[in-house]
Every structure is written in C-alpha cells, then in structure tokens.
Symmetry: C2
Subunit: 335 residues, 2 copies
Amino acid sequence: MQTVRLMARIVSAGTAVGKKETEGPLGACFDLRDTDDKFGMQTWERAESEMQRLAFNTALAKAKLRDTDVGALFAGDLLNQCVGSAYGLLDFDIPYFGLYGACSTSAEGLLLASAMVTHGMFARCAAVASSHYCAAERQYRTPLEYGAQRAPTAQWTVTGAGAFLVERAKENESCVRIVRGLPGRVLDAGINDANNMGAAMAPAAKDTLVRFFEDTKTRPNDYDLIVTGDLGFEGGSILAILMEDAGYPIADRYTDCGQLIYDRVGQDVHCGGSGCGCSAVVLGAHLLPRLERGELGRMLFLATGAMMSPDSIKQGQNIPAIAHLLEIECYKGGR
Amino acid sequence: MQTVRLMARIVSAGTAVGKKETEGPLGACFDLRDTDDKFGMQTWERAESEMQRLAFNTALAKAKLRDTDVGALFAGDLLNQCVGSAYGLLDFDIPYFGLYGACSTSAEGLLLASAMVTHGMFARCAAVASSHYCAAERQYRTPLEYGAQRAPTAQWTVTGAGAFLVERAKENESCVRIVRGLPGRVLDAGINDANNMGAAMAPAAKDTLVRFFEDTKTRPNDYDLIVTGDLGFEGGSILAILMEDAGYPIADRYTDCGQLIYDRVGQDVHCGGSGCGCSAVVLGAHLLPRLERGELGRMLFLATGAMMSPDSIKQGQNIPAIAHLLEIECYKGGR
C-alpha cells in the first residue's frame, strides 16, 4: 500500500498564461493573460518567474491572505536549476522546498503540500509550477529563431504558471479537497525519442493508475473524470490502450490537460500541450472550478513528467518518466 | 514559528566518493571509493548516477533492507533536470520525489523524509544527494579540458553521493535522530559573482540559524556543533561574522563540511568543497558516526544552496540562496 490518505482543502488557485493559451478553448478561464508572453520582462526566463509571482499573488489575493500566512512553498519548473521558481518566488518571505519533477511538478507539489497540512506540520502550504514555451524550446530543443520544423508527435510547451493554496480540511466542511495521493515511480519504458514525450510518459501514468486501483480497490468508474497532465494526443491514446490491456478501461472518462488547452487543428500544436504549466493551469482554471460547481464529484488527477535532460539524450540514454496521482473530490458537508 | 518537530531515527547512511575525496582528511571514512571518478561508466554524468545507486544500495545493505522496504525516495543533484538522481535510482522500485535545492538538497531531502516518517505517511523513507566535480565544471563553468584558472574564492565540487534511511524513532529508543527541522527561505543578498558561492550563501545560513534560535529559544552553546554544508572557508568566515553581529556567536563550535573534506593547502582546493555531495558524504561518513559514538550529543546541520543557473547569471541576475536546517541528536534511551 503506497497510496496515502490526505485531507487537504484547496483554498484557492491562481493562473497566469501567455498568448496562445489565451487564444485556446480555455482562454477565458485563466486569471491573468499576457499578449506577448513576456509579462513586462526582458527575457523569457524572467517572464516565467514573473508568471509564478503573479499566479501565487493571485492565489493569495483570492484567499485574502498574505505571504506570511503560508507555512511553506513547494515549487518547481523546467528551467535548468529551476530558476523560474527560485527567482519568481524570491519576493515572498516563506520557507521554500524546491522540486524537480519535470512536468509532474504540479501534482508532486500538491501531494507534498497536502501531506504537510494534513498532518499539521504547517497550517497552510502552497504549490506552484510553471513553464514557458520560448524558454523551454531554446533550452531543450533549438532557439525559436532557427525555425526548426516540429515532429508530428511533438507537443507545445504551455506558457503558464499555476499556484495553489491548501490547508487542512475540517470534517464535514463543504469544499474541494485532496483525499488521497500516490507518488509515482521513475520508469524507463525504452523510449528515447525526445520528440515523443507522450509515448515515454504513458507507461508511467499506467503504472501509477494501476497501483492506485489495486491499493484502493476502486475501479475507473468510481471516478467522474481521470485526467493526465501532459500526455497529449499521442500519449493519451497510448495510455487508454495500456489501461484497457491492464483490465482498467478508462477511455469513456479520460482526458488530458494537454488535449484540453489548445485547439489541436486551429492552433497547429501537433500532439497538444505539455510542460509543468500545462497541468497546473488547466487544474487551476478549468478542473477545480468544475469540481466547485459540482459538475464533477470525484476526479483522479495525474501529472506526468519526463525526467531526461538534453545531455542524457545526447549520451544515448532512454527517457525515464514519472506520474504522481491525486484524488480530488467535491465534498458536500455532512454527506 | 516555522520550526517543525520531527521524530526520525537515522537507520543507516551510505557514501560513495571519488579520488580527491579519498585522498582528503576524511578519506578512510567513506564506504565506497573510486580511483578515477568514473565508477566504471563512460561519462561523468553516468558516473554520478552510479554513485547514487551505490550509495543507496550501501545504505540498504547496512540496514539489511531491500528497496521494497522503503516507502519513498527524496533525491536530487546539480545536473540539469536532476538526471543524476532520475537515472541513478531508476533500478529501485520506490515512489520518488525529485528535489532541486542546489547544494541544500541533502538537508531538504532529510527534512521531508523525516516529516513523512514522523507522521506515519510512510514507514521508512530515504534521502539521496550527489554531485560530481567534472560534470559540474562543464555544466556550470568550463569543461576541464579548457584548463581555466580558478578564482581564489572558488570552491571544489565534491565528487560523491550520500544516501540516508530514516524511520520513525520510538520513544526512549537509543538512536541518532532528527528532532527538529527548519526549511530555508530563498534570499537574495545582492551577490552576483558565480566564483564566490560562499558569500552568496552565508546570509541564507544566517537567516535560517537566527530564525531557528528565535523559534526554539535556544542559543548556540546549547549545541555541541553547528555545521554548514558547503560555505567553505570564505562563506564560513562570513557566516561567523554575521552570527556574531546578530547576537548569536557560533565561532567556537562552528565548522563546514566543505572545510572538512579536503586538505586546503595540500589539495589546492582554494576555498574548500561544495556541491550537493559535500554535505551528504560528510554527514553520512563523518558527522553521524561522531554522533553514534557519543562524541557529539546534539548538532545543528545546515545545508546551503545557491539557486542560480549559468543562464540567470549571464542575464545579470543575482545569486539567490537557501539553507535548510536539521537538529540531530544522539539520544540515549531513557535519558
């Protein structure tokens, strides 16, 4: 049994996104939207930090809290040495746990933050994650100015940051709350094509999902929605097949944040969105509001990450991947 | 009050180091020592992963445990995208939380692992951290082949990995245990010289230490030793002065892992050791055994990290830093 019980109310979420995300199907849902992806900064990297700062400030403002009301921050991003988070959250006077989970960071941070508040280590914690298309392209692939052609299985790194505040849920309190979590294991499924992250990450998502169903003795149809972070269209299709094979068919209630955030055809994004920011902003701006409105009762949220670096790929290594899971429910007091 | 109570017994530690560390004053203490820093691998990066694997396996072997006995791993390193940990721990079938705390990772991981076992989220957790001189030089500064001259304030990245197993300490059980922890805050002290990390990190260490003394109403002389992770000689001197100014003089009981690991003059290491591996291997191979032998009764261990990237320095940003603190004691049952 590796699944842990949690009791964490999601107090508020803040999201900040760039131009392409604003133009996508969820555009109207995000809190802050920038038209040139720079957020007033001179570099893409600083723009990513600024998105984190803005997203976290928005989450604080929605909850009518100040930074000193938060016991600890769990944050990460895709930039080398996670500087998006280190610089972005520098203004805040809060103990800081830096994370690196690639695109799984949103769920990793929420899982750890939820564990802390569940057990009273801190009264209130925050989780923040971000990514930036232009910064990621030049770090992981080629600078945009080169005009490289993208592979059919490539995904589009989301320019966005999401921040979440959690505190211990009181018994019988009506709220959206995280009730179980299952950390992922790092798996190597033998994929080494850096233009096909979905295929590399799908087996990790399957591993976590199957372990969760076995641990909890639940089935896919116990949940209104099962959503992954950024498998996109390719990886999402693979996951549906893998789960069917494993005896836990999910296709009728499955989607992926990377499939939701862009208009696949109209926005020319190939296999959909990706990046730490993808699952963070879709969770904050789209999925949590659906839970709050009662459109969803209970959801499994898995953020998936590919743990390679450009250097490890050049050195001929495969792409290890991970998926962290959270069970999130809309609890109606006294039910 | 940001200091948290912990109750985590350190079950075992494993350390693996390279040639220069073997030749240093603590050389005989380390579990595994390699003579060419490659650990049988073809690249420095893979050698770093191999050190993590070996260190963790050693910690498991000392405790007569298998990987499936460990509930969760907290691991990190200095390589881009933390691939030292992701690949190094791939063989183990254990839920994995990737961390990025720069050189503060050993304490960050131990703090989170201790929190988990203290509150029974997992029965047993592990923390692993590593660095490799050759991999770090080519990533952060220049490839060794260039033969660049080192600045007088430069430090030498330790080639080493340390792994720790923790479980909940039973009441009245004689053991070495982690009893309090204080996560650091990211601070910018205005330093932007990437060849003087000690100066950038010392103010973060001071911030954490002063908050800890204020939180706990203790004084430096309540502890037999106060030890930082990798401030080295320059940063260590600065910290002693900062603490004197703050009204908490520590000089008579203060040292730094980066000062202990090399012979400063004989090994030509300028300002001492640094890197995630520095505090991890000195804690595992030197400090914990001193606690076990009863030479030290109670110690404050702070691992310090500089949270910049080569890109953020090129973009003109300062070096933000962080320091996570652990109070570790040798508890004699029934005392």
